[in-house]
Symmetry: C2
Subunit: 168 residues, 2 copies
C-alpha cells in the first residue's frame, strides 16, 4: 500500500469511528488529519486536504478545541492560526471519556435520582417494578461514574496494566 492510499483509508476509518463516539464525521476526520500531520496545519490546509468548506472547517476545529483534542498554535509574525492534535492516544481516549461523562452520564444520574422520588403506594406491581428498575440502573450508573472518574485521571500503563493483570 502507498502512503497516500493508507492516509486516505485512515481518514475514512477514523471518520466512521468518530460517528459512533459522539464526535461528528468531519470532526473526526480533521482530527485524523492533524494526528498524522508532521507539522501544524492552518484552517486553509485542512479545507484543501479534506475538500470541505471554510465554515465547516472552522466549526469543527472549534469543536475539537472544545473537546480538548486539538490546540491552536500561533506563530509570531504570522496572522494565520495553526492547529496541532494531541498525539498521545491514551490522552485522547481519556478526553473523549471525560467529555461524554459530562455530557451524558451526569445529566442521566440527575434524572434517575429524580425518578426515584415518585410518589404513591409501593404496593402495586407497576410502581414496584418501576422503582426496582430505576434503582438498579441508578446504582450501576453511579458505580460507572466513579470508575470513569478514576480512569480519567489514570496513567495508561498503570490502568491497563493493573486491570489486565487483575483479569488474568
Amino acid at each position: 500500500m502507498k502512503l497516500a492510499e493508507a492516509k486516505d483509508k485512515f481518514l475514512q476509518t477514523w471518520g466512521a469511528l468518530g460517528s459512533n463516539w459522539g464526535v461528528s464525521r468531519t470532526m473526526a476526520q480533521i482530527h485524523a488529519l492533524l494526528l498524522i500531520a508532521p507539522d501544524p496545519m492552518s484552517a486553509e490546509d485542512v479545507m484543501e486536504q479534506l475538500q470541505i468548506s471554510r465554515g465547516n472547517a472552522n466549526l469543527n476545529i472549534r469543536a475539537l478545541i472544545d473537546w480538548g483534542l486539538v490546540q491552536k498554535e500561533l506563530r509570531s509574525g504570522e496572522r494565520k492560526e495553526f492547529f496541532v492534535a494531541e498525539k498521545d492516544i491514551w490522552k485522547v481516549f481519556r478526553m473523549v471519556v471525560k467529555e461524554r461523562r459530562k455530557r451524558e452520564l451526569e445529566p442521566m444520574l440527575r434524572i434517575l435520582a429524580d425518578l426515584k422520588e415518585i410518589d404513591g403506594s409501593k404496593t402495586d406491581r407497576e410502581t414496584k417494578e418501576f422503582i426496582e428498575v430505576i434503582d438498579n440502573i441508578h446504582r450501576l450508573a453511579g458505580k460507572a461514574d466513579k470508575s470513569l472518574a478514576t480512569l480519567i485521571k489514570a496513567d495508561e500503563n498503570w490502568f491497563l496494566g493493573s486491570v489486565m493483570k487483575l483479569m488474568r
Copy 2:
C-alpha cells in the same frame, strides 16, 4: 411526580441515551418500555404505548432481539408473540459492549494492522509520523480489546468491586 409522568420521562431519557450508544432512539424506547413492564408485551401493545407504526415496532423489536436485549415469549394457545426485556442491567451493559466490540473495534483492528503494512522508506518525516501514530493506536486498541473481552465475561460485583478498590 406521578407514575405515568415518571414513566414517560424515563422513556424519553432512555431513548436519548440510546442514540449515543449505537442503539436507535425508538429501539431504546421500546427497550425502556419493556424494562419497566411488569409483564410481557405484544407488538400491538408496544405500538399503542409508544404511538409508533407496525413496521417500526417490528423492525426495532427484531433489532433488540439481535442485540440480545429482548426475548420472544410464546404462550401456548396464543398465536401472538410477546416480548420481555433483559432486566439485569449489568447484563444489558455487557451485551451492548459485546455488540459494539464486534461491530466497531474488531473491524478497526483489522484495518489498523493493514495500514501498518505500508511500503516505502521509513526515512521521510511523513511516513515516519504516520507509522508511529498508527502503531500507537493499534497498540491501545489491542489492549482495549482484550480488556473488553474480559469485562464481557465478568461478573458485576467482581468487576466493579475490584476495579474500584484498585483505584482507591
